[in-house]
C-alpha cells in the first residue's frame, strides 16, 4: 500500500480543446473531479469521452487548455515526466488490452516486475492474490484469448491495481458485456471507491452502470460539459437534451454526429 499517502488531490480540466484534423472533439471542456469520488462521464458515441481520459495520462495531447492534478500541470508534461504520474493514475482500456502472449498471471505480474523489482516467482504469487481479489484466481494460467470479455476486463482491472494507484480511469468498462458480468464490474468499481478511497473516472454510456455507481455525473455534449451533478439531479433535470439521453429517445433536440 502507498506509504505516507499523499494528500488527496483534485483533478481539474480547464477549458480543454482537442481536435482531430478538422473534427473538434472537445471544445472548452471544464470539469472538476473530487478525490475519492466516482465521476461518470456520459454522452453519445464519438463525443470525446475516451479522449478526455486519455488526455489525463498523456496518451493524447490537448490542443489548448489546462489539465491539473493537485498542483501538477499534466497537459504540458513531457513523456518521461508522465511516467511517475502514470504509476499513480491507472487506466483500464475498453478492450482490456491484456498482452496476448502472456497468461493472466504473467500479465498482472508485469508491472510488479518492472516497477517493484520483484522476481518472477514473487510477482506471480502476488499476481494470483490480486486476481483472487477480482474473482479470477482459477484462470490465472490461461491466456486472454481463451476468456470472455467480462473476465478479461476483471483481469485488466487487477493489473491496473497492482501499482496501487490513487486514481483509476475506466474506459467503457461495461460496454458490450452481458448484464451479469456488467453488474460484477460495477460492484468492483464501487468497492474500490468505498474500501480503498480510489478516485474513479468512468466513461460510459451504460445507464445502469452510471446510475448505480456514480457519485456525480458529467454529461458531455458538443465537446463541453453540458450538465454536471448527482444522479438524482440529472434524473430530475428539465434540460431536454439530458432527458432525451436518459430516456434513450432516438429523436429530439440532441444532435448526434453521423446519423
Amino acid at each position: 500500500m502507498s506509504a505516507g499517502a499523499a494528500p488527496p488531490r483534485t483533478i481539474r480540466f480547464d477549458d480543454v480543446w482537442k481536435s482531430f484534423g478538422d473534427k473538434a472533439v472537445l471544445c472548452g471542456m471544464s470539469l472538476e473531479i473530487r478525490p475519492g469520488e466516482v465521476m461518470c462521464i456520459i454522452g453519445t458515441s464519438g463525443v470525446g469521452k475516451s479522449v478526455a481520459i486519455k488526455l489525463l495520462i498523456g496518451l493524447l495531447r490537448a490542443d489548448r487548455g489546462e489539465i491539473r492534478w493537485g498542483d501538477l500541470r499534466l497537459d504540458s508534461m513531457s513523456e518521461p515526466e508522465m511516467i511517475p504520474v502514470r504509476k499513480r493514475i491507472g487506466m483500464v482500456f475498453q478492450n482490456a488490452t491484456l498482452f496476448d502472449s502472456l497468461s493472466l498471471a504473467e500479465n498482472v505480474a508485469l508491472p510488479l516486475r518492472v516497477h517493484k523489482g520483484m522476481r518472477m516467482r514473487e510477482a506471480l504469487a502476488e499476481a494470483r492474490t490480486r486476481l483472487d481479489q477480482v474473482g479470477m484466481a482459477e484462470f490465472a494460467g490461461r491466456r486472454p484469448a481463451e476468456l470472455s470479455d467480462g473476465m478479461r476486463k476483471r483481469a485488466a482491472i487487477a493489473r491496473t491495481l497492482t501499482l496501487d494507484p490513487e486514481v483509476v480511469l475506466f474506459d467503457e468498462p461495461t460496454t458490450g458485456l452481458d448484464p451479469v458480468s456488467a453488474r460484477r464490474i460495477d460492484r468492483l468499481i464501487a468497492k474500490l471507491s468505498d474500501d480503498v478511497g480510489v478516485t474513479s473516472i468512468v466513461v460510459s454510456h451504460d445507464l445502469t452502470t452510471i446510475f448505480t455507481i456514480a457519485d456525480r455525473i458529467a454529461f458531455l455534449y458538443q465537446g463541453r460539459v453540458h450538465v454536471c451533478g448527482t444522479p438524482a439531479e440529472l434524473r430530475s433535470s428539465v434540460d431536454p437534451v439530458v432527458q432525451q439521453f436518459i430516456t434513450g429517445q432516438s429523436s429530439g433536440e440532441m444532435e448526434t454526429p453521423g446519423f
Binding site: Q94, N95, H115
Partner: protein, 271 residues
C-alpha cells in the same frame, strides 16, 4: 483507384520529389528509432523473457522456409555452373564457385530476403495490430496499454525483438549456408555427376574463412536493418486492417531495398 490516375497526371518530377520526401521521412524515423533502441542496449537492459520468447518464435517460424530456400538455391547455383562444366570440363571448380557465391553473396542476401518476408512482415503485422486504434473488429491498443502502465514500449517490446531478429538471422545464415552447400553437393552429384568429395575439396581448398565471415558480417547488418524497418513500420500503422496491410507491404519493400543497398556498400568495404 482514381487516386492513382490523378497521381499519374502529376509530373514525374513531382512524383520523384514526393517519393524522395517520403523516403527521407521514413529514413529519419528509422534512425530515431535506432537511437532509442541503442540507448537501451548500452548498457544492455531488456526483458529477458521477451527476448527468449521472440527468439524461439522467430527461429521456429523461419527455419523451414530458410532451409528449403537454401536447398533450392544450392541447386540453382550448381545448375548454372553446370553449363560451364560441360563446356570446359571444369569439375574441380564447381565446389569453389558455388561456395564463393553462396558464402559471400547469395546466402546472406537471399536468406535475409526470406527472413524479411517471413519474420519481418510477421513482426510488422503484430506490432501494427497492437498499435491500431480505430476502424476494425479487433482494436487492441496494447501499445497504449504499456504506456499507461508506465512501461516503455521500446524497452519492453521493441528492443527484445530487434536483438532477437539480429541473432536469429545470423544463426539462420550460418545454417542456410551449410544447407545450400549440402544442396549443391547433392544436385551436382545428381545432375552433373560430380563426386561429393570433389565438390568438398574444391570448396575447402580454394575458399578462406574470410569468405564465410564476409557473409556473416553482412547478415548481422541485414538483421539490424530488417529489425528496425519492420518495427518502425509496425508502430507507425494508421488506419485499421487496411493500414496494417499497407505497413507490411511498405516494411518488406523498405527491407529489400536496404538489403540491396547495404550489400552494395559492404561488398566494397569488407575484405
Amino acid at each position: 483507384m482514381t487516386g492513382a490516375r490523378r497521381a499519374a497526371l502529376r509530373s514525374p518530377i513531382e512524383t520523384l520529389g514526393a517519393t524522395a520526401m517520403q523516403v527521407a521521412r521514413e529514413a529519419g524515423g528509422i534512425t530515431l528509432l535506432a537511437g532509442r533502441v541503442l540507448r537501451c542496449l548500452v548498457p544492455p537492459s531488456m526483458d529477458g523473457r521477451e527476448l527468449t520468447r521472440n527468439m524461439y518464435r522467430m527461429g521456429n517460424r523461419s527455419v523451414p522456409i530458410v532451409a528449403l530456400t537454401a536447398f533450392f538455391v544450392g541447386g540453382i547455383m550448381v545448375i548454372q555452373a553446370g553449363m560451364y562444366v560441360r563446356q570446359f570440363n571444369a569439375t574441380g571448380l564447381v565446389g569453389w564457385g558455388a561456395g564463393y557465391a553462396i558464402f559471400r553473396e547469395i546466402g546472406p542476401v537471399l536468406i535475409a530476403l526470406m527472413f524479411s518476408g517471413r519474420v519481418g512482415s510477421n513482426n510488422t503485422a503484430e506490432l501494427g495490430t497492437m498499435t491500431v486504434t480505430e476502424g476494425t473488429m479487433t482494436v487492441t491498443e496494447q501499445l497504449d496499454g504499456l504506456r499507461a502502465l508506465a512501461i516503455d514500449p521500446i524497452r519492453y517490446l521493441i528492443v527484445p525483438r530487434v536483438v532477437a531478429m539480429m541473432v536469429m538471422l545470423f544463426i539462420l545464415t550460418v545454417v542456410g549456408d551449410l544447407v545450400s552447400i549440402a544442396g549443391g553437393m547433392l544436385f551436382s552429384r545428381l545432375l552433373i555427376g560430380i563426386d561429393p568429395s570433389t565438390f568438398y575439396y574444391s570448396l575447402v581448398d580454394n575458399l578462406d574463412w574470410i569468405d564465410f565471415v564476409h557473409g556473416l558480417v553482412k547478415s548481422a547488418v541485414f538483421g539490424l536493418s530488417i529489425a528496425l524497418t519492420s518495427c518502425y513500420f509496425g508502430v507507425s500503422v494508421r488506419g485499421g486492417a487496411v493500414g496494417v496491410g499497407r505497413a507490411v507491404n511498405a516494411a518488406v519493400v523498405a527491407a529489400a531495398v536496404s538489403i540491396m543497398l547495404l550489400d552494395f556498400f559492404l561488398t566494397f568495404l569488407l575484405p
